[in-house]
Point group: C2
Chain length 701, copies 2
């Protein structure tokens, strides 16, 4: 069912309309009339003949004309009855302002479920309940179905907020920055319309170029990654996701679990879909201002034209902190600029025209910089000396941009100081140029724009469906499940499971006597490793539970006694294990965990104790394509160590890439496994593969 | 010489005063009169009898009354003559606006040197040249000796800017934020008055509580660290330091050099002195607004009182990203709040009072939170629902704060949305409460305030003057100097030098034949290490120049031939070296480099290839106290590895602390050494000391 009746209603009824000063029922009517809404507005109030000068009806059913949208602000006990009326009347959509549902718990949850059933029954699409409403600025619609105190300027930015209270602030900020909105939706409890629905709608909406989101939690995660990725390839999507720390504190049962906290899950989701995450509301607006009016740069080479050195350096510092470069200017560009600039000007990039330069110099330098084939984006900075007219400078910047005729190159402006608040800045905004007070802001915005360009240019890659032996894998999981849900898998079960998915682990034998251990070592070949394996033991080395490089039967026997002694302290079932001693290569950790709201998260990190201490990890959402697996490795700070560093042999990256994909496939195919962690995995020199030295895994509860 | 005549002049002459519209000479007079300056203003202009209605004089000497300060804006050719006049007249201070000195190079440099000489000759303290002037708002002075278009609001924040152009912007921004200034100084070329002078002045100035700086380079580094540290212990000093990337790119001749780029030098300087670094101009203002009116918190426990959940979460996220905690509220506090709040309110921290709460609830909750002994700081957030009067809320917040009577606890406010621009926000500012538009900003500000508290509370420690053998050290350096300045020190010279400073290196022998090598190995004891040592070879392992764990004479001979072969490719003089093979411990890198502007920088990092790949390093400015050495180690992400991690033995931290101090002492005492790098240093288990496995060092050019 489309959202047509919500976003383009032909008529609106306000149920709970009121004339009382400062009541929501009055504000709803006033906002609709102020629009003015491009269709009739029908107040509904059983106790009044008219509301704020407009004829009122006792119920929706009594309205003689068709009603597309009902805005509902009645006591919560009456909402279901109103929906019944709407259903009978054939109303297609509802904005339910009323609070007191899921958010208050208890009866509220039941009430919300009943509401959902009724909406489905009548086929009514609804926003809310417990929201501040929605706004559409399209001149053919002009719908302000909210009780917001601030109207929205028309524009091309759609905004969804999971916090009603923030909605009011968002509208005021957008207005103060001159940021025009195509639509604003306060989602409320999401009884029906979800983030997914809105993303799908706005991806196809001609009046929307950029989507902003304030979200506290994700909705339907089965569909979200695909819907969001599809939308983000069409339009920039910028999001503030809050609540990152409150959830991150939960206790962890394995390395992977601890590392893949919820905030990493959100980051993985954004990384996967191409949604750009803003750290703060302020950054969200800084970025939105640029994305709303400027194209993405074609590459990362930036020119800066300024009349003061200091601000140019500040912008440069920020650019260099991202993956941006200062463009090298051609001799022609430099000559063109030199011809109009004072001798003291510096015609490097940043181009410091110095304080005596005015409109004439801005026009020529802006135009020349934009025409330069080595320039992909331009930052113009103006700090007003008293002798230069800022309005004339603003006009010159616009003329320079028009002269260059390079609409494909983004131009961002900083008007510093008093001029930030004067007509020149307004002139620039009116000519679709983003204007910032601080010179660092356009630099931050360009970094984000270029990040989106690179995201769109990079290959998506393929999800490989490997030939695997699911029967063997199931048998291994069944064997563990016999011990109950939530059980740890045994070393042998894990070896079986992984082997069924084409991931070979080092051979191992479980031993129960010193003689046994020696025989196993002889079968596997010296030197060997012996270790304690126990469900409760996450960090074997904490209790000295791993003994390496045992070269003789005597050493193996000694190790058996020593480990048996140490294992006794565990007071839980355990095994002793013998494995060949593998050496030579870089250790990594590779595993996955299941996140209730985000799906399966794969974690790759530099191995050993470093992964925990230095937190150099990459987290991605499954399924992982071949291209993603490569990027995952490259995103590690320690990637140079895997590629071969300072005389070290390059590691077998191809084998690691394949292993990442196979583990991703396992994670997706075996929902009964909650977490699995291979730690360490030895990355051998190129051509020699990878070796899994130790594995832990746990069934779903 | 004090800055008294600059900051409290009794009379001012404006040399180059003019009546022309939009001229600097006119703006200077206008700004002085607008103050109005609390004393007489004398225009000086040889061509006019009066300027802007005030009697003018042909020269400073003709002024009949005493003149304390001359503001000079004449063509650069005439500046020296004007200074001569000032000298004759007995003028005590000058603000030199005129440009065309050092900043234009060539003749300008000579002119500036002549200017400096003249100023010294007459004992005149001067700001500039090439600056926009200075402002003092003290009501007894009211000096606006600048051509700034924006006047400064009176207040307690002193601002110095190394960029004149930024100065104009700074004044406009301060005004728009309602941030009052005690003084503003555009430093210009710093022919006389320096950053050091101003810090010393403001540290003692009763009308200044906070100092802000925009700096592009540091001044006299011999004195700066001490002066700044002294000032920062008295008053918060916040700085934006730009130009961090341009300088960072210079080629590096050693690991330490590459790591200790100039930006790290600035960070080390700020770390040493307690100056808080802001990343952007915007952050500088965010922090300044809080520091200007609020005390530092006594500890890091924060309460948040809000009428909307979303903004509370946003603030919490930021707090958790710093070292801040959400305070646990006492049962009494919770009871007091519950008594006035709606049932749906959440009386955890953040206290979400929900949208229906108004002034009465704010007053009680603000007061109760502040009275709670477990709360050190409070953030109040208000998002305006249409039904609540924001002015009344502002009054309630102020009343709540007054009722609590806890002036020692900082209170920061976020008024989100439309109310940010209304009278309520103004009321709060008038009552000395910082108000922010975004809820993340007060959280960022509290993190910075708490950082300064911790800086002030931490022990400074002692610089230990070790008993060392400077004669032996000098002999080793002389021996290297015989090969010319800039030479590398030989392994033997380095061993001598370090040993003279009480830092023992592993014994080593330089060998020149296979037989020699075997004899050396037998003397040192097997197993041994052999390696190539050559001035041009920074990374020995790049060419396989290190062979470890040689256990027998045969292995040593083989290693000799192999290394000789590899060394041949070097085409530069080299030695082969035999050393005992040391194992068992964590490797670190420790070294120092000399920064022209910052002095000696000590660098400590996790050893091996990790230091370069993972950049986990600590950089500090010498001399380093015992307390600093400990903090340096603790600041490493990898510190847990040194303390003993997951069954590993704790390393000998005490020995490392001593080695850091000894190396700092060496760096300070031997200016002829430009860089020295010990890599790796093996940190043995506690009580077993540290072992320097390899050293490189270079003389000053």
């Amino acid at each position: 069912m489309s959202l047509e009746k919500l976003f383009r209603p032909g008529s609106v009824a306000v149920v709970g309309a009121s004339s009382s000063e400062a009541s929501i029922g009055a504000e709803l009517i006033k906002n609709l009339l102020r629009g003015p809404f491009q269709g009739p507005v029908f107040p509904v109030n059983p106790h009044r003949k008219w509301v704020l000068g407009i004829k009122a009806y006792a119920t929706v059913c009594e309205i003689p004309d068709p009603v597309d949208l009902a805005v509902i602000s009645v006591p919560k006990e009456r909402v279901l009855a109103v929906i019944d009326d709407c259903g009978k009347k054939g109303v297609g959509a509802a904005v339910i302002i009323t609070a007191g549902f899921k958010e208050v718990g208890g009866d509220g949850v039941a009430l919300e479920n009943a509401l959902r059933d009724k909406l489905r029954q009548y086929g009514i699409r609804a926003i809310g309940p417990n929201c501040m409403g929605m706004i559409v600025t399209n001149p053919e619609v002009r719908l302000n179905a909210s009780f917001a105190a601030t109207p929205a300027l028309p524009g091309n930015v759609a905004f969804l907020s999971q916090s009603g209270a923030l909605g009011e602030a968002i509208l005021a900020l957008a207005k103060s920055l001159g940021l025009g909105l195509s639509a604003f939706v306060s989602l409320g409890n999401r009884v029906d319309v979800s983030v997914n629905d809105l993303l799908q709608h706005w991806a196809e909406d001609d009046s929307t170029s950029v989507v902003l989101m304030y979200i506290e939690s994700f909705g339907n995660m089965q569909r979200f990654p695909l819907i969001a990725a599809n939308a983000a390839r069409k339009k920039p999507i910028l999001a503030v996701k809050s609540g990152r720390t409150a959830e991150g504190a939960r206790a962890a049962s394995s390395h992977t679990g601890a590392l893949a906290s919820r905030d990493l899950a959100a980051d993985a989701l954004f990384e996967k879909t191409g949604i750009l995450r803003a750290a703060t509301m302020e950054e969200l607006f800084t970025l939105a201002t640029a994305f709303a009016s400027q194209p993405l740069p074609k590459a990362n080479r930036v020119a800066i034209v300024t009349n003061a050195g200091g601000p140019g350096i500040l912008a440069t510092d920020v650019l260099a902190s991202g993956d941006m470069k200062l463009a090298g200017l051609t001799p022609e560009t430099i000559q063109t600029m030199r011809a109009v600039l004072p001798a003291e000007a510096s015609v490097n990039n940043p181009v410091d025209m110095i304080a005596t330069s005015g409109p004439a110099q801005y026009e020529v330098c802006v135009s020349a910089a934009l025409k330069d084939p080595g320039v992909d984006a331009l930052i113009v900075i103006f700090v007003s000396p008293i002798t230069i007219d800022s309005y004339a400078v603003a006009q010159a910047v616009v003329r320079g941009k028009e002269l260059a005729a390079t609409p494909e190159k983004p131009v961002l402006v900083s008007f510093m100081g008093k001029v930030a608040y004067e007509e020149g800045a307004r002139y620039l905004k009116d000519h679709k140029l983003p204007v910032y007070v601080f010179p660092e802001e356009p630099a931050h915005a360009l970094i984000a724009m270029d990040k989106l360009r690179r995201f769109r240019e990079r290959p998506i890659g393929d999800v490989v469906r490997f030939e695997v032996d699911k029967t063997r894998a199931s048998a291994a999981i069944d064997s563990a499940l016999a011990r109950g849900p939530g059980s740890q898998l045994s070393p042998m079960e894990l070896a079986e499971l992984l082997s069924a998915y084409g991931i070979a682990t080092l051979p191992l034998e479980v031993v129960d006597s010193p003689e046994n251990a020696v025989q196993a070592a002889e079968r596997l070949g010296f030197p060997v490793v012996m270790k304690i394996s126990a469900p409760t033991l996450v960090h074997k080395s904490d209790i000295g539970g791993v003994l390496l490089d045992l070269k003789s039967p005597m050493e193996v026997k000694g190790a058996y006694y020593e480990l048996s002694e140490r294992a006794r302290a565990l007071s839980s079932p355990h095994h002793l294990i013998v494995q060949p001693y593998a050496r030579g290569g870089q250790e990594v950790i590779l595993g996955f965990s299941s996140e209730r709201t985000a799906g399966k998260l794969l974690v790759l990190g530099l191995g050993g104790v470093y992964v925990e201490v230095l937190k150099d990890i990459a987290v991605r959402l499954c399924p992982i394509t071949d291209a993603e697996a490569h990027r995952m490795i490259e995103s590690l700070k320690s990637a140079p160590l895997l590629r071969g560093y300072r005389g070290g042999a390059p590691g077998d990256i191809d084998a690691l890439v394949e292993m990442i994909q196979r583990l991703s496939y396992l994670a997706e195919s075996e929902p009964r496994i909650e977490t699995l962690e291979m730690n360490p995995v030895l990355i051998r020199p190129a051509g020699h593969g990878v070796a899994v030295l130790d594995v832990r895994g746990k069934l779903r509860e």
